[in-house]
Amino acid sequence: MNKPDDKELMERCSKGDRQAFETLLVRYEKPVYNAAYRMLHNADDARDVTQTVFLKVYENLDQYDPAHRFFSWVYRIALNESINWLKKSSRQEALVHETADQGDGPDVMANDEQLGEGMEAALMRISEDYRAVIILKHVLGCSYIEISEVLDIPEKKVKSRLYTARQLLQERLTQQGLH
């Protein structure tokens, strides 16, 4: 039997079908959680944001525009909620200080594990807009056009933002002695 697509599930959700909502939750819980984690770099916060995202989805079913794909709507909510969370908790400033102190200098050879940790730290040291585009491309695997839909910006801007984001990431990694 074919799995119902997002559109069909959303239609059923809007008629009060909780099981359809649960199917969407199962489908998108992991990517939303991973996106939130990469935006926040904190498992507890990512869990809370994921919960908020799906509650918002449920509460705003009537505001969903079927002309757009469901995932672009849910990812947009996830990124916005993560950014709001960062602003609310002012965690980012603390993290910038924390990660800025973690650089071991350029003489340190980076192994895979260090590079992974370094990458996570570097991600937290670029602005939310750049982090979001990196997450959409490299964590969620979105295409240019899908990113453009999620962020509501032209495809050309997606490309330039990705390019700048990568340059900034490289700079941060170099500062941390990992590139």
Partner: protein, 257 residues
């Protein structure tokens, strides 16, 4: 010499897997002729690979259940307003009403000689407490719970002579929460919950027990008459098994009073 902007664009498109066959050919020719472009391609490929190698994390196992428990069920016929609801009809009094309802519920459920004349002294300043997010801060102790049987958070803070234990939890079935506090100058002073049913509380000297089932937001108020340091031990039980336990310590000095 800087790499040509058109080639930079093609390198990025290639890294992103969004390059056309014709552009790919052009890029390959450019890379063969330009070592700087080649170096840039290698560098960006490495960065992209490192990003893709970031671990794919699994959400906490209880998260799905917690979300589903938070989602409202099918619409029910609105209940007719009873005398309590009409008494607290004004929006400003709604949370007061919730507290009062909680307190009334508590009175009917709690069997304790400690309550008598000392309970529910003055909680007016706490109205709304349960409706608000528990603030994070140095004066608030928070335990985050993530077990298959129960998930959420419990916090302890003080307000004047009261210690407030906030519960924001979801359980997959009935879970008993047993709290014990050794100091005899601490007594159970009240209970409030957002839902009008769901959690039940009983109290006796040095302890209270609460049972939850599903998603519950509630608070227990303890009166710290001696304003002493207090340790509160919390055990969460599913059936006879302890699924989580923690201890909060309230230190008078740390409270800043």
């Amino acid at each position: 010499m800087a790499v040509d902007s058109k080639i930079v664009e093609l390198i990025n498109a290639d890294i992103d897997g969004e390059i056309s066959p014709a552009d790919k050919q052009e890029l390959e020719a450019a890379l063969a002729a330009d070592p700087e472009a080649q170096a840039m391609h290698a560098e960006l490929s490495g960065l992209s690979r490192a990003l893709h190698e970031l671990p794919d994390l699994d959400p906490p196992p209880h998260l799905k259940h917690a979300i589903m428990a938070s989602v409202p069920g099918p619409q029910k016929e609105p209940a007719r307003e009873g005398w309590l609801q009409s008494l607290f009809a004004a929006p400003a009094l709604r949370y007061a009403g919730m507290f009062a309802a909680g307190a009334l519920l508590t009175l009917s459920l709690v069997s304790s000689d400690q309550l008598s004349d000392r309970a529910f002294t003055d909680v007016t300043g706490l109205v709304g407490t349960i409706s608000s997010e528990v603030p994070e801060g140095p004066d608030v102790q928070t335990a985050r719970i993530d077990r298959p049987e129960v998930a959420g958070r419990v916090s302890l803070r003080s307000s004047g002579p009261l210690l407030i234990v906030d519960f924001d939890l979801v359980s997959s079935g009935p879970v008993d929460i047993e709290a014990s506090y050794s100091d005899q100058t601490v007594w159970f002073n009240g209970f409030a919950q957002l839902e009008s049913t769901g959690a039940s509380v009983s109290a006796e000297a040095g302890r209270f027990t609460m049972q939850i089932d599903g998603k519950r937001r509630s608070a227990v108020f303890l009166h710290n008459a001696g304003d002493r340091d207090v340790a509160i031990n919390l055990q969460f039980k599913s059936g006879d098994a302890v699924v989580y336990d923690t201890e909060f310590s309230y230190a008078q000095d740390a409270s800043g009073r």
